[in-house]
């Protein structure tokens, strides 16, 4: 706010783990690497660490910028920094790229030690639970016994939720934003359309496209276009584009006519230029599989019963991909389980993407919450 500033120049680090990691899919990673960044200082009691979990296309680069790339600002830089709601003068904040990611952590782009070639499509399926296990290894390495908080939006919120049940004594607060206790059929359906676009791209080559010197850019772009629509609201798209025509009138062509077409194509192509299609496939599957209540006969209250953390759940009024009603399911389950929970539903026109924006009331809620966390 008044004197809030950036964390400045940051440098990613690599953590190497040589103990195998058993995954929920039945496979095991013989060893793995995680790329991460940290902001602020770990205090002497090691009690001020906050883990930030990323969503579908996020990364470990959460705040600040790189010395050689000042324009590359962290995806949650508006939230994290000195004097910002997640204040790095108080907290030691960690961003980590999840397993299966494409920003340096072990994933389809990295080398499979068994073959000496890139993993590609052979990288095993990873779940939210697996990610949380891998985060815990990183915490061990950094000497963090207990996180003051684990924070995430969307798929990141699912990780925060699971942190509270998988490692109840290692997390003080779980901040679950624009998330859901599991995806609905409609939500899985969107992911499936995205996956089919990638899988059917002639350049996909069964996921081993690297060896062919190509990437399934068309499929990945199309996948992103579908996803992008679901992250915006009807209202915000209408306000941004309406029915604006590039040529002022119909020209009866399949080339770009409506401004919204131009925007979506641009967003799709931009995304396909830097993101990895195999990571997209793996991550959407992790979203689809997430269902912590499944082992408890669908009883979310029972699934969350091991949690000892205090929860903050936040949703956004126009988010239809992870609607407020889904957040209320989490809140209801926590309430009936006698857990400490607060819930805010923020009025914002930007749909699911609202969680990345600097909405004053939203950041006000987070600031008040983080300010109250004792370290």
């Amino acid at each position: 706010m008044n004197n809030a500033s950036s964390v400045g120049i940051v440098t990613p680090q690599v953590a190497r783990f040589d103990q195998p990691l058993a995954l929920r899919c039945g496979a095991s990673l013989p060893g793995f690497e995680l790329v991460y960044e940290t902001y602020g200082q770990l205090n002497r009691e090691r009690s001020n660490a906050v883990l930030v979990c990323h969503a579908l296309s996020g990364s470990h680069h959460v705040a600040g910028h790189y010395a050689d790339d000042p324009g590359n600002v962290g995806w949650w830089d508006n939230l994290i920094g000195p004097g910002k709601p997640l204040d790095t003068d108080k907290f030691f904040v960690i961003g980590v790229n999840n397993l299966g990611g494409c920003y340096g952590s072990s994933g389809p782009l990295t080398t499979n030690p068994a073959t000496g070639r890139r993993w590609g499509a052979d990288f095993p399926f990873v779940t939210v639970e697996d990610w949380v296990d891998s985060h815990a290894r990183l915490a061990d390495l950094l000497g963090i016994e207990r996180f003051a908080a684990v924070v995430g939006g969307s798929l990141g919120g699912m990780q925060a939720m699971n942190w509270a049940t998988q490692y109840p004594d290692r997390i003080g607060h779980a901040v679950v934003i624009a998330s859901a206790p599991k995806l609905t059929a409609q939500n899985i359906a969107f992911n499936e359309v995205a996956r089919q676009a990638i899988l059917k791209d002639p350049d996909f080559h069964g996921g081993h496209y690297y060896e062919h010197g190509v990437v399934p850019a068309r499929g990945l772009a199309q996948a992103r276009m579908v996803g992008h629509i679901t992250y915006l609201s009807d209202d915000s798209m209408d306000r941004k584009f309406g029915r604006k025509l590039r040529h002022g009138q119909p020209i009866y062509s399949y080339d770009v006519e409506f401004e919204v077409e131009s925007y979506l194509r641009y967003q799709g192509e931009k995304f396909a230029g830097f993101f990895d299609a195999n990571t997209y496939l793996l991550t959407t599957k992790a979203l689809d599989y997430y269902d912590p209540a499944a082992d408890c006969g669908g009883d979310l209250t029972r699934a969350l019963s091991p949690a000892e953390a205090q929860f903050l759940v936040v949703s956004f009024s126009t988010d239809w991909r992870f609607a407020p009603s889904r957040s209320k399911e989490i809140v209801g389950a926590l309430l009936h389980g006698d857990k400490r929970v607060s819930y805010a539903e923020i009025d914002c026109a930007a749909g699911h993407d609202s969680f990345l924006l600097d909405v004053p009331l939203y950041h006000g809620v987070l600031r008040a919450y983080f300010d109250n966390i004792r370290v």
Binding site: V331, V341, S342, A344, A368, N372
Partner: protein, 197 residues
């Protein structure tokens, strides 16, 4: 309207240590905070005003943003020992609905409200103006209140709805009013239960 000390104390006296409490229209959370400190309740506040959500979080209480006009859907029957609504009932359209919801999710309900039949209010009306007082601090054109009722009205509604009045107290200026409460009291507090309970 700010919570008064007597309001806190009466409500706290009706609540056992360690109870589960829901406070509807919790404002900045100060009542719940008081009950946590004095009664060690495990509680949740409910608010729908974003600024008050922020204040409640800053006060360190659990607060849930819900629209009370929509009832308490999603909260199971008997989830709470007491459901409190302090000085908010007059600001809700769905009066019967919310009272029923309070006694559905709570074993007992605690309700307080400004008494429209307070003598100063009556005097204002006789003088031709809508009352503005400590308990009704707003002007007619900017009041958040949507229901104007008296102690007698409320008791009649309870009888009609099968709501049992377990205890009722009336106050003026922070002092207990024993005689002619519908005339002499500006605020009333009730402890309510279900007929069959």
């Amino acid at each position: 309207m700010a919570y008064q000390r007597y309001d806190y104390e009466v409500i706290a006296s009706w609540i056992q240590g360690g109870e589960r409490v829901l406070d509807l229209g919790c404002g900045d959370g100060s009542l719940l905070k008081y009950l946590q400190e004095t009664r060690q309740v495990r509680g949740y506040g409910v608010e729908n005003e974003p600024e008050r959500i922020v204040s409640s979080i800053a006060n360190g209480i659990n607060v849930l943003q819900l629209d009370l006009e929509q009832g308490l859907a999603g909260i199971e029957d008997d989830a709470f020992d007491h459901v409190i609504m302090s000085l908010s009932l007059q600001a809700i359209h769905n009066t019967q609905g919310i009272l029923a919801e309070m006694l559905r999710v709570g074993h007992e309900a605690v309700v307080s409200f400004p008494n429209f039949a307070y003598w100063r209010h009556r005097q204002a009306i006789i003088n031709g103006r809508m009352p503005v007082s400590e308990s009704l601090p707003h002007q007619w054109y900017n009041t958040p209140n949507v229901r104007f009722f008296t102690i007698a009205d409320f008791e009649a509604l309870c009888a009609q709805e099968g709501i049992v009045i377990r205890e009722g107290l009336a106050f003026d200026d922070g002092k207990l009013v024993l005689d002619e409460p519908n005339f002499m009291a500006s605020v009333a507090l009730y402890r309510l239960g279900r007929q069959n309970a």
